[in-house]
């Protein structure tokens, strides 16, 4: 091999070193956990968390580079670094939240943590992939692991139902995605995103075929981010899945899906933007409105959070519809705050649950403020952030997102989004009314007895406050990530979409 080729190969393998660490850790946990009992469960969990932390080091080391690895299929840029770090964080948080939960619910620890690691692997691959087939591969790796995790409490009918619904609809949506990829390949003659962008800029003779493909890929992503009308599986899947996994689905899956969605559509299908932004406009409006309105009627906390996750996907789609650099940066920032806040909210739900005593309904939370003041305060803060109260992360995220959409001229969509935010205050605050102003409810174990969970809730609260109060460094990081991804292919002016 010539020195140049050797260097390229070395660079390629270094680029996927974090993925390799996660994959090896997953295999190690799987094998070690094959015969492990519950007493080794916590050790496996800590090992998984440590592996996820270790994988963050090579991710950080690759910062400052903008290159393509593996013959132009894997992007090594600040964009992938940004998403990989948030995904690693979300996965590690999921492990921390799960530690005691897995033991209490009698779930098989080895397989549980191995599946979380495999899902994290797929998510990271989606964030880094610069090739449609590789995105598909990452999506499948992630999805298959998450399907199994959703049904992990397999002796519960509800969990099995969640897994089956999620699997059937997910597999169906994957078909859409794959067919769309095939049509795009037929029209443009390439699956790699950089050449695809160049091919689209040069124009194609097969515009109808291309648009069909883009539409099908759009449907595939809409399923994964739970956008209306492809959201039907979400509440049942979140409600039946083990609670830490519901949080993982609401945050990790959404992060990875939006990472790939934004890279494909925002960064590389910009030439077709007038067509797909019109569709995304409608989907965003429907998603926000349906998510928020149905959330109003929910009695179960998990279902309420599921519809809230749908509504937040709608807000993010507003940014997609805007399709400007600012909007893309706002999406990145919003996702960061959303990851902290939502993981925290699900961690609080986990803290309330015990075997047999599941704090499912909002009515169970009555009087929690008196019994668990710390936990209640954390829940209040996280829900206020989800509502969009200043100065928390949720508010600043929405501010940037809606401002970018206004700058792109989407006045009516922003009006719908703001009205939806007002509606959402009702169901978030209803939980707080139950917590602080009503009597009754069910007893809850002290959080201090569960240090890992305490750390997770603390980190979520801290992150929600910090990202909201000092947004500048995170906004700058999001902007740098975006510029890095853009500079990968176009040395010219950094315009996301040529309007």
């Amino acid at each position: 091999m010539s020195p140049g080729v050797l260097a390229a190969v070395q660079f390629s393998w270094l680029a996927v070193l974090p993925l390799g660490i996660v994959a090896l850790a997953a295999v190690a946990v799987l094998l070690a956990g094959a015969r492990a009992g519950q007493d080794q469960g916590e050790a496996l969990g800590w090992f998984s968390a440590a592996a996820l932390a270790a994988a963050a080091l090579p991710v950080l080391a690759s910062l400052g580079r903008s290159r393509l690895a593996f013959d132009g299929t894997v992007a090594v840029d600040a964009y992938s670094v940004y998403f990989e770090l948030v995904i690693l964080f979300a996965s590690a948080m999921t492990v921390l939240i799960s530690l005691r939960y897995v033991a209490e619910m009698g779930l098989a620890p080895g397989e549980y943590y191995a599946l979380v690691l495999f899902a994290a692997l797929g998510m990271m691959l989606m964030a880094a992939a610069d090739d449609l087939i590789l995105i598909f591969l990452g999506l499948e790796t992630m999805s298959l692991a998450v399907y199994a995790l959703a049904g992990f409490a397999r002796r519960q009918a509800r969990s099995a139902e969640a897994a089956l619904k999620y699997f059937l609809l997910g597999a169906f949506s994957t078909g859409f995605l794959l067919y769309g990829i095939a049509l795009i390949y037929g029209a443009a003659g390439t699956l790699k995103l950089e050449p695809l962008r160049a091919a689209l800029a040069a124009g194609t003779d097969h515009r109808t075929l291309l648009l069909c493909g883009v539409g099908l890929v759009l449907i595939g992503f809409a399923f994964k981010v739970a956008a209306v009308p492809f959201h039907m599986w979400t509440p049942d899947a979140y409600e039946g899945a083990p609670t830490p996994i519901a949080g993982f689905m609401a945050v990790g899956v959404k992060l990875a899906s939006f990472a790939a969605f934004l890279r494909v559509f925002g960064l590389h299908l910009g030439a077709l933007a007038p067509t797909w932004t019109a569709v995304v406009w409608v989907v965003a409006a429907l998603t926000m409105t349906a998510g928020n309105l149905i959330a109003l009627a929910q009695q179960s906390l998990k279902r309420m959070l599921a519809y809230s996750a749908i509504a937040h996907a709608g807000y993010l789609l507003v940014g997609m519809a805007a399709g400007s650099n600012e909007a893309a940066g706002a999406i990145l920032y919003y996702l960061l705050g959303y990851a902290f806040t939502n993981l925290g909210a699900f961690a609080v739900v986990v803290a309330l649950e015990r075997r047999g005593v599941e704090h499912e309904s909002i009515a169970d939370l009555r009087g929690l403020g008196a019994r668990a003041p710390g936990l209640s305060a954390a829940l209040a803060l996280l829900l206020l952030s989800l509502t969009g109260m200043p100065p928390l992360a949720g508010f600043v995220g929405k501010l940037y997102l809606f401002k970018a959409a206004l700058d792109s001229g989407l006045v009516w969509l922003v009006v719908i989004a703001v009205l939806n935010s007002v509606v959402s205050a009702y169901y978030y605050l209803r939980v707080l009314v139950a917590v602080y102003m009503q009597e009754g409810g069910v007893a809850v174990a002290p959080l201090a007895a569960r240090p890992a969970l305490l750390v997770a809730v603390g980190a979520a609260v801290l992150g929600t406050v910090l990202i909201g109060v000092f947004p500048a460094p995170y906004v700058a990081a999001a902007g740098a990530a975006l510029r890095s991804a853009l500079s990968l292919s176009s040395p010219g002016p950094l315009a996301l979409i040529a309007r």
């Binding site: 295999v27 799987l30 094998l31 094959a34 015969r35 037929g186 029209a187 003779d205 097969h206 515009r207 109808t208 075929l209």
Partner: protein, 118 residues
């Protein structure tokens, strides 16, 4: 554009026409005589016995799954074997890596007792 989309549309139309024709014609022409024998669960001549919801060991499923994985492994190794010389050391390493990954899966199945039959 049209020269690409037309064959696809034609394929869809032909597929729909063939299926529609088959269903319609068999519905129109097929004689329908309901007899007691036809009402039975299995039309293979033997009288049905036992419940349709019979249970069988989950081991069959596990063995079938393992067989499927190794089966597909062989299918994927064929092209590599054909191009063994031209793919060189890199191809050998990748094929061994692929086998190793599946080997780990087999070890895992072994360790959880999927291969024990008692």
């Amino acid at each position: 554009m049209a020269n690409v989309t037309v064959p696809i549309v034609v394929t869809f139309v032909v597929a729909a026409a063939v299926v529609g024709l088959m269903v319609t014609v068999s519905r129109l022409l097929g004689p329908r005589q309901m007899t007691a024998v036809k009402g039975e669960a299995f039309e293979c001549g033997n009288p049905a016995s036992g419940s349709a919801w019979g249970r069988f060991s989950v081991h069959f499923y596990l063995v079938a799954l393992l067989f499927l994985v190794l089966d597909v492994e062989v299918v994927l190794l064929y092209p590599w074997a054909v191009e063994l010389r031209s793919s060189g050391i890199a191809g050998l390493v990748e094929a061994l890596f692929f086998i190793a990954v599946l080997g780990v899966g087999l070890i895992y199945a072994w360790r959880i007792g999927a291969l024990d039959w008692d």
